[in-house]
């Protein structure tokens, strides 16, 4: 094998030169190229991964928040609806109450007024009767020409009133 290589021009000093040169080049490139570049690639990969993870987290977070807000919004809406319904109901009740009360009061007032009127009327009628009876007795006395006693008078009035009282006025 050695003779084949020699016949092709193999020379040991050249071989040695190349080994040394290559090892130097390997050392230099390790220092200047591979190490910094691989570090940079790793760093970049990591930062991209971080960015993706962060975005993912933020997305999940946002989604959670959105759901939360949506739930809260729905809750608030429901609450508002409840409040409105409650208020409406309350208002209706109050209205009814007020109306009923007013109606009651009004009817009471009317009743009272009617009672008053009836009472006044009765009183007036009674007074009128007395007056009319006295006048009538006095007139009758004049016509008869003699006065009648107090007892007669009262008796007459009572009789008269009883008679008149049966009439509808």
């Amino acid at each position: 094998m050695g003779s084949i290589l020699e016949s092709l021009g193999f020379e040991f000093p050249k071989f040695l030169w190349q080994v040394v040169n290559f090892l130097i080049l390997l050392f230099i490139l390790k220092k200047l190229a591979y190490k910094p570049i691989l570090n940079m690639l790793d760093e970049r990969k990591k930062s991209i991964e971080d960015a993706i993870n962060n975005a993912e987290t933020a997305k999940t977070e946002a989604e959670k928040l959105r759901k939360d807000y949506e739930a809260r919004l729905a809750e608030a809406k429901q609450e508002a609806q409840d409040i409105i319904a409650k208020a409406t109901k309350l208002g209706e009740e109050m209205k009814n109450e007020i109306v009923t009360k007013a109606q009651n009061e009004a009817s009471k007032a009317i009743q009272k007024a009617q009672e008053e009127i009836t009472r006044e009327k009765d009183q007036a009628i009674a007074a009128l009767r007395d007056e009319v009876a006295i006048l009538a007795v006095m007139a009758a006395g004049k016509i008869i020409g003699k006065s009648i006693t107090v007892e007669d008078h009262e008796k007459l009035v009572k009789e008269f009133v009883a008679e008149v009282g049966e009439l509808k006025c």
């Binding site: 021009g9 193999f10 050249k14 071989f15 080049l25 200047l32 190229a33 691989l38 940079m40």
Partner: protein
């Protein structure tokens, strides 16, 4: 690449022995350190890779641009490719070695395609020389043992006796043939292509070598790729966890 510049390298049957680019006398001794032409080219390639890497990573940005983007693309692409073969965690460990192999071989192969490069002294594509491809292949061979033992300890040697103990010899031969095939494949392809381009260039200097050079662009990438791919499968096999 002209044949004469080519012949300047190596002393085999193909090329006559030629002086190195420079003979550096080590101070205080008589010994001379030969700086070959391909070593100069190799240094230029190393310098380009180191410089661009330095520019790319000296001030890194989260959002890559310019040279940083190119280097990130290379590293991410190749490490991803090796990760597909051996898994991401092992690609992290062995990726630097394999990626450096790929980039060095690619630029070596392409250095021969630069027009007029042959005129420049000290410009020889390293991978067109068998000594260089053998060096790369031996590094792969050693890395198989190095990474294998580091990953599995003494258990690494178990695979020599599998599936049957008597296959030990066959397994050893298989292991030994790998660097030979790796180095000869790369050397043969690049040297053959270089030779064709230079011979064609000598016969018809204009236009005719162009398709061959375009083919060279393709072959240069494929050979670099095949070398790194085979190395990665060897290392993946050596470091594989058996369950």
């Amino acid at each position: 690449m002209s044949a004469s510049a080519h012949g300047g390298e190596g002393g085999g049957v193909h090329h006559g022995p030629v002086e190195p680019f420079l003979n550096l006398t080590i101070p205080g001794t008589e010994y001379q350190l030969p700086i070959y032409h391909f070593v100069v080219t190799s240094w230029v390639i190393m310098f380009i890779l180191a410089l661009t890497a330095w520019l790319a990573t000296r001030n890194m940005h989260r959002l890559p641009k310019g040279v940083q983007n190119v280097w990130e693309y290379i590293v991410e692409g190749l490490f991803g490719f090796f990760g597909g073969i051996m898994g991401e965690s092992r690609a992290r460990k062995y990726g630097p070695f394999l990626t450096t192999l790929f980039l060095y071989i690619l630029l070596s192969n392409y250095s021969g395609l630069i027009p007029g490069a042959a005129m420049i002294k000290g410009f020889v594509p390293p991978t067109s020389n068998v000594s260089i491809t053998a060096a790369l292949a031996i590094l792969v061979f050693l890395s198989i043992f190095y990474y294998g033992i580091r990953a599995k300890g003494i258990g690494f040697f178990k695979h020599f006796f599998q599936p049957m103990a008597f296959l030990f010899i066959l397994n050893v031969v298989e292991e030994l043939v790998r660097p030979v095939s790796l180095s000869l494949r790369l050397y043969g392809n690049v040297y053959g292509e270089e030779t064709i381009i230079s011979e064609l260039g000598k016969m018809v200097p204009l236009i005719v070598p162009l398709p061959m050079m375009l083919l060279g662009v393709l072959l240069g990438a494929i050979q670099a790729f095949v070398f790194a791919l085979l190395a990665s499968t060897y290392i993946a096999g050596a470091t594989e966890e058996h369950h």
